[in-house]
Symmetry: C2
Subunit: 374 residues, 2 copies
């Protein structure tokens, strides 16, 4: 165990914690913006930090193909390369190799595939994934796994999960312990409680610095996702961080924190921001909608980001209608600020033992819907 | 005359001046970044100011079609709309209506055309162009003219220029004098010295706050452009600013300042930046080129912009190869910084009566070419 996790308190199942890594601390529950190819899209890295983010996620699959892990290492590692001096978590490449690459061939050894960029052939094994994440200098390395597709039969889910568990043991073996650097295992098992339990047991037997819940937010819907989190999270050791991968929407974040999750990542705030979709305290607002064309009001009057404090809805609408890059730039900044504000509010609510009340008022506020048109 | 121009000094034909408008002062020679549709592409407006820019250009044609001049006026004018509180110059729409719109019909009255965005029919006349620029609240309004295509016969150039001169008189008539707001006339006449002289006489007879040289940088080449500027600039009144429209490349700027030009605008720094082309003290660098893939050095070690002070060439190369928005964002910032630094150096050189020496060392430095590969 080479990264530290301090459980500062809890409120029901919700937990308030602190992770300490080589590049700094992360207050949890935490949301990690996604910086797929060494950049959180449309953001200067110092603005990502200004939103309150304390850790970003990088993608092994993308970075191994371009610019290449060895090249990033020669250039001083991913922190220096992308000018982000706080913690970085890298995924293992397991998810993208199944969703993006062509001609995948999966075996006990690993996955061979063709690059979606230039068709060149590559291989990812548990050992190579760990090596790449080491070269990138990730503070938190993720075990190489197969993200079981949804839906899956119990038999297929079991077979996939057990392969991931064998790979997890190989990852633990390959990982070089260093102070401030940690390795997380990933629980699989689809929506089957027995398989999730078996997966947790397997991972805990190996021993990791943290535990991710994988294979969710892949189309099963919020109810089934929450139910799976609700049964899986309590099985995990109290003294290690829990990370729900690929989540999510603001109400997914609130619900999952309520079930004891500490960490999240998702492309939603950045991708939605580029598409004109804004998270607000009163739900999602589509700035491309004609109702905003003459609206002199701020997007979200309670938000402190530049999109909200400096510009009108009318201007943001104009930027998206005109295809101007400043639209995605401002709305990405806004959505990341929204998510970080939400996490900070949840951390305060847990500290003050009023998380249930917070979750209720959050849902009510979201349910109000957007401001009436001008 | 409702904007002020102070000629602070000169060095040969090169001039050092200061324009005072309703929204602030502009030290000349000045370069104006282009903010076509109410945004300097890929830039937060406060960063545009950080580069040293004291004035930006907005496009009447684009803004009249989207979001509409009356809408911008209702929202408080273009400064508030785009959050740029320094001076704004708007072009008249004359150039874009000829280069972008469909089904143009030009008459003594003006130009009717179809929007390139949605095919709707519109009309621009001298009176409507002035009204739009008033609605936008431009500090400097440009007369509505026809930018004579190149090449043109002397007869066609004369006819076109004389139409522009009749329109210029109508613009002067339509313009509402207000303190801090000014109207510039535009000299036409293609590359024909007699026509340029006739055009200058016509405009001076009407009387404007400043004089632009139009119809250049349209394919005639640098030599012919310089020759035309060289014969036209001295004909213009000493006590009014001179603006060379649509220029330009770094060496165009230096050469034209040497011929007595005070103001410039061009999409080149922003457009080139979006395409991976960087202006540097040693000439243009294409960051997409494979030679940069492993280069840990800054783009331009003498530049103070974030692209140069924070990142490596290898990273900038990676961003452009990966199609990441941060590439255009950083390189636009760099190119605008480069142009503003160049203008500041020229202003100092004129103040210190060493402009000719500056121009010579500038050309020598540009001629050195990029750094040797690593």
């Amino acid at each position: 165990m080479t990264i530290e996790f301090e459980l500062l308190g809890s409120d029901g199942a919700a937990r308030r914690g602190r992770i300490t890594t080589a590049h700094g601390t992360i207050e949890t529950p935490a949301f990690m913006p996604v910086g797929t190819a060494g950049t959180v899209k449309a953001m200067y890295p110092w603005h990502v930090a200004e939103t309150g983010a304390e850790i970003v996620l990088g993608n092994t699959y993308h970075l191994m193909l371009r610019p290449g892990a060895e090249r990033v290492a020669r250039l001083g590692g991913l922190h220096a390369f992308m000018q982000w001096d706080k913690p970085i978590l890298t995924d293992s490449g397991g998810y993208q190799v199944m969703s993006l690459a062509a001609l995948r061939k999966i075996s006990e050894r690993g996955v061979s595939f063709q690059s979606h960029i230039d068709g060149t052939r590559h291989e990812l094994t548990p050992e190579r994934s760990i090596e790449i994440q080491h070269l990138l200098d990730a503070d938190i390395t993720m075990a190489f796994d197969e993200c079981t597709p949804y839906p899956a039969t119990e038999e297929a889910a079991a077979e996939s999960m057990r392969l991931s568990m064998r790979w997890a043991a190989r990852c633990r073996e390959a990982f070089q312990d260093r102070h401030g650097y940690g390795l997380f295992g990933i629980v699989q098992g689809s929506v089957f409680e027995d398989l999730r339990r078996e997966s947790v047991d397997a991972l805990c037997g190996i021993g990791f610095d943290g535990y991710a819940i994988g294979g969710l937010a892949v189309g099963e819907g919020q109810e089934l996702m929450f139910r799976t989190v609700e049964v899986t999270a309590p099985l995990l050791p109290d003294d290690r961080p829990r990370y729900l991968m690929g989540v999510g929407k603001p109400d997914d974040l609130v619900g999952s924190v309520g079930h004891g999750v500490d960490m999240f990542d998702c492309v939603l705030p950045t991708r939605s921001g580029r598409n004109g979709q804004a998270f607000t305290r009163r739900g999602t607002v589509n700035l491309r909608n004609a109702r905003h064309a003459d609206d002199p009001r701020p997007l979200d009057p309670d938000c402190g980001c530049p999109a909200c404090t400096r510009f009108t809805r009318a201007y943001l609408h104009h930027l998206f209608r005109s295809g101007e890059m400043l639209g995605p730039m401002l709305l990405t900044w806004h959505n990341l600020t929204y998510d970080q504000d939400l996490m900070a509010e949840m951390r305060r609510a847990i500290e003050e033992a009023r998380f249930a009340a917070f979750a209720k008022s959050f849902a009510a506020e979201q349910g109000r819907g957007d401001l009436d048109p001008v």
